[in-house]
């Protein structure tokens, strides 16, 4: 568990994780799937796109940057592909016209080698700003997979927790100062929040990096304030999509961690005006100190166009600059 070692008055800007794939990546992934190009050729393009996104984040002065996950398809499948015991299953729908390949646990989960460390090192080599290490949490991998092996969900989740812990430790050894363990599924079942907490405890226990978890689109009225027991330094939450409804809860039970404040909707083409974003930040400042606040989009931006994502991120930075000047 770690504090934040960044310059400035707080309200640090960052991103939740994924950024849009440029069309040359989408095309190259299709060609790779059809066997028309080899792995190395795709990888070169992914490195180029990663570099472009890091340069963009640096150009607008982002405090904590992400590698954009250009080389990942889906946040669970990416890990499932590398972990023995998980197989990639068929397509299922997540919402609207969006589908993902839902993994199937067919045997005990293990880890043969680090999964994310090489990409993290590459991304960090491109910038002076700290790059977040990005992992998918054990509870979410379990919840978003089918289970044909484990007798209980707890057995499944705790095996995953040990694997993700090993990955996090490797990221920290490589130099990561910020490690995010996404648990978007954490708000799904209130009767399993204890399991989320137990599993996250296994992952973060050996870490001294600043740890973050991102949770989204759930029934926060029931999950809050208990979610504050999740053993991480920062919780990143969506506020734009839910119209800042959680602030009412903060009035009753103070938010005790660092917050990642999602201020733009990632499922809308609409560009939020700078002033609207600034107003959202000001409303939140009534409950949380600026030095405890990170500002970012609601969720990963991968479903937006490149232009929409750049504009949304630029507007966030401009809004932050306005509010910083008022502190």
């Amino acid at each position: 568990m770690g504090n934040v070692d960044l310059e400035g008055p707080g309200l640090w800007t960052t991103s939740v994780g994924s950024l849009p794939k440029p069309s040359y990546i989408t095309q190259a992934r299709g060609r790779r799937a059809r066997g028309e190009i080899d792995r190395d050729e795709l990888r070169e393009l992914e490195r180029r796109a990663t570099k472009e996104w890091i340069e963009f984040q640096d150009s607008i002065g982002t405090d904590v940057v992400v590698d954009g996950e250009i080389y990942r398809g889906d946040m669970v499948a990416y890990f499932a592909e590398e972990l023995p015991g998980l197989e990639i299953g068929g397509l299922v729908r997540s919402y609207g016209n969006r589908y993902y390949r839902k993994p199937i646990a067919t045997g005990p989960i293990g880890r043969e080698h680090p999964i994310t460390v090489e990409w993290w090192k590459y991304a960090q080599s491109l910038t002076e700003a700290p790059v977040k290490g990005m992992l998918t949490g054990p509870y979410t991998i379990c919840d978003w997979s089918f289970n044909e092996h484990y007798a209980t969900r707890r057995d499944f989740v705790l095996d995953l927790a040990r694997v993700i812990r090993d990955e996090a430790v490797d990221l920290e050894r490589a130099g990561a100062k910020f490690i995010q363990i996404d648990e978007p599924a954490a708000s799904t079942r209130m009767d399993e929040l204890d399991l989320v907490i137990e599993a996250m405890g296994i992952v973060t226990e050996p870490l001294s990096a600043h740890t973050i978890t991102h949770i989204c689109y759930g029934d926060f009225h029931h999950a809050y304030p208990k979610m504050l027991d999740i053993p991480v330094d920062q919780i990143d939450l969506e506020f734009a999509n839910s119209e800042y409804g959680l602030l009412d809860e903060f009035a009753e039970h103070p938010f005790t961690k660092y917050i990642g404040l999602g201020v733009v909707d990632v499922h809308s083409h609409e560009i939020e005006p700078v002033e609207a974003i600034a107003e959202g930040i000001r409303r939140t400042l009534k409950f949380i100190l600026p030095e405890r606040m990170f500002v970012d989009p609601d969720c990963g931006l991968k479903t937006r166009t490149g232009e929409e994502a750049r504009t949304k991120l630029t507007n966030i930075k401009q809004a932050v600059d306005i509010v910083r000047s008022e502190l």
Binding site: G90, R93, N147, G218, E243
Partner: protein, 324 residues
């Protein structure tokens, strides 16, 4: 006499592995203005044909159109009535599936049938009865935000009155089985009296159609025997996510007709034949063979296409054996 087999509603939209996903492509193209609504209609109809043929091929007695046009059980109706806007994404119960939450901003009013045309098409390409599915008024209210009535009872009753017209039109179009989905009622036992009034209104004008009150994703323990007082012909309970429904079933009056969810619509593991036969056999013993319908535990859209197919084949195969 064998146990009747049916499905709950949705069916996987993606093609079997390796096939072309025409519906997804068409929806993307429509978003970019690269195609016409006629193409989308054709894609929907083709997929309806396919999923009905698959259900019939597996041996299912009462099928659905697979809800191939729907993203979820409420927005197709909310978009069609007056009084609603469609808002932000929210998790659909405890699934990794999200829906856009309807927001009620004005009086809820009927603006003509929402699903009658699609029902008629499905029935025209099926050789067995097609079940029409509508959301229950209590679940509809729980999945929505009410910014207009500011009164749960009034909101539910307003929805019930629109759903009653939909149900009436579906019957007029030839629906012999109408299912009313009320999964949210399981977590809202305080709404049981309201549900009774609201569902009475929904089914009030029906004369020939059989009605099924369906629940899923959990047990009806908190409703207890009260669930069997709702004014419908058949009660749908999920025995996979709600094993305690066995206890609830003991509270059912003699002669209660049951639609039992017995194969897991949310996990790929195929139920062993013997286990499934034992489950169906014991339910048949409890309610009587003639009163039992069996089904997956929920809509099959949570599974990949091939897995959904295998589950249905297994269900029909075992159900026939139990009835024999």
């Amino acid at each position: 006499m064998s146990v009747q087999t049916t499905v709950i509603g949705s069916y996987p939209k993606p093609p079997p592995e390796g096939g072309t996903f025409v519906l997804r492509k068409t929806l993307h193209a429509l978003e970019r203005d690269d195609t016409t609504p006629d193409d989308l209609k054709a894609a929907h109809e083709e997929l309806t044909r396919e999923v009905i043929a698959e259900q019939e091929g597996a041996g299912i007695d009462v099928v659905t159109d697979g809800a191939v046009r729907w993203d979820d059980i409420v927005t197709p109706f909310a978009r069609h009535m007056a009084g609603f806007e469609v808002g932000g994404l929210l998790r659909f119960f405890d699934n990794n599936v999200y829906y856009r939450r309807p927001v009620c901003t004005g009086p809820v009013e009927w603006r003509g049938p929402a699903t009658v045309e699609e029902f008629k098409f499905a029935q025209s390409v099926a050789t067995v009865p097609v079940k029409a599915v509508i959301p229950g008024p209590v679940t509809f209210a729980h999945l929505s935000i009410d910014e207009f009535y500011n009164d749960h009872v009034k909101f539910v009753m307003a929805l019930a009155s629109v759903l009653a017209q939909e149900a009436f039109e579906l019957q007029a179009a030839g629906a012999t089985v109408i299912q009313i989905d009320e999964p949210a009622l399981l977590g809202a036992p305080e709404d049981i009296d309201l549900a009774r009034r609201a569902i009475k209104l929904v089914v009030g004008e029906l004369t020939t159609a059989e009605t099924i009150l369906t629940t899923y994703f959990g047990d009806a323990k908190r409703l207890g025997g009260e669930i069997f007082s709702l004014p419908v012909h058949i009660y749908g309970l999920d025995f996979v996510s709600g094993p305690e429904n066995r206890e609830v079933l003991k509270l059912a009056p003699q002669g209660t007709r049951l639609q039992a969810g017995v194969v897991d619509a949310r996990n790929t593991m195929l139920e062993p034949v013997d286990d499934l036969a034992a489950t169906i056999g014991s339910l048949a013993e409890t309610v009587g063979l003639e009163n039992l319908w069996v089904a997956p535990s929920a809509g099959l859209e949570f599974l990949p296409r091939e897995k959904a197919q295998s589950k249905l084949q297994r269900l029909a195969q075992v159900a026939k054996k139990v009835g024999a």
